[in-house]
Symmetry: C2
Subunit: 149 residues, 2 copies
Amino acid sequence: MTRTVASSRQGVYIDDMAVGDAATFAKTVTEADILLFAAVSGDTNPVHIDQDFAAATPFKSRIAHGMLSASFISAVLGVRLPGPGTIYLSQSMRFRAPVRVGDTVVATATIKTLDVDKRRVTLETVCKVGDTVVIDGEAVVMADRRPTA
Amino acid sequence: MTRTVASSRQGVYIDDMAVGDAATFAKTVTEADILLFAAVSGDTNPVHIDQDFAAATPFKSRIAHGMLSASFISAVLGVRLPGPGTIYLSQSMRFRAPVRVGDTVVATATIKTLDVDKRRVTLETVCKVGDTVVIDGEAVVMADRRPTA
């Protein structure tokens, strides 16, 4: 009998979740991330790519796109909890502090409410750099039910 | 006298905005966008990168990351309206329909409310593929005031 311990193809079933369950994804933001994100998104706001411009803003130097850090929330939900099978329904977020090259962003999703019948999961979603909250908000996703035998 | 008609370094001043003003950014989602977004975000959910997995989902084939289309909203706000100088405060969004390779996403931001004293602008943010709304939601940003003479 083959036992698969972890697969890129199956996430956590909603039947196996509990309020308070949490997962994280962490990524160090590099120069390359910002340039690639600018290319993929089309967001070439000079605060991200123009050091002379950024120096004259309240941020004093270039900052990463807020949506880049937000994309790490998508990674937590899409890869970890619930993981594969997740359908993303909604996301709210407040951008609380800037992220700069070299910062390591830790995105955490924590289950707030579960509706097994409707397969709905509400998660608190927070991104931090050290102890500083850079994004907070809430996600709603649909998760798979455990197949019946 | 030099007159600069458009600069990558100055957006629209809040003093010059009116409720109902709108801007758009459109991008065709390519295979490369999805792969680069997976790399930058860390979101390697198989529904985006594993055709065999995606074929067994309700989507029937691979779909783009919701946050990729959301990033086009960031582009509208950061490049067009308000453009350079914008500080992104918050964003809400509902993911209403999938986006696939080859789809052209048109992101539109429309000013809903203005608070010139607080420099706050609330915008309705919608992404469409053809007539189908794929994302709707709302953004709040801070915009520059016109410098006094």
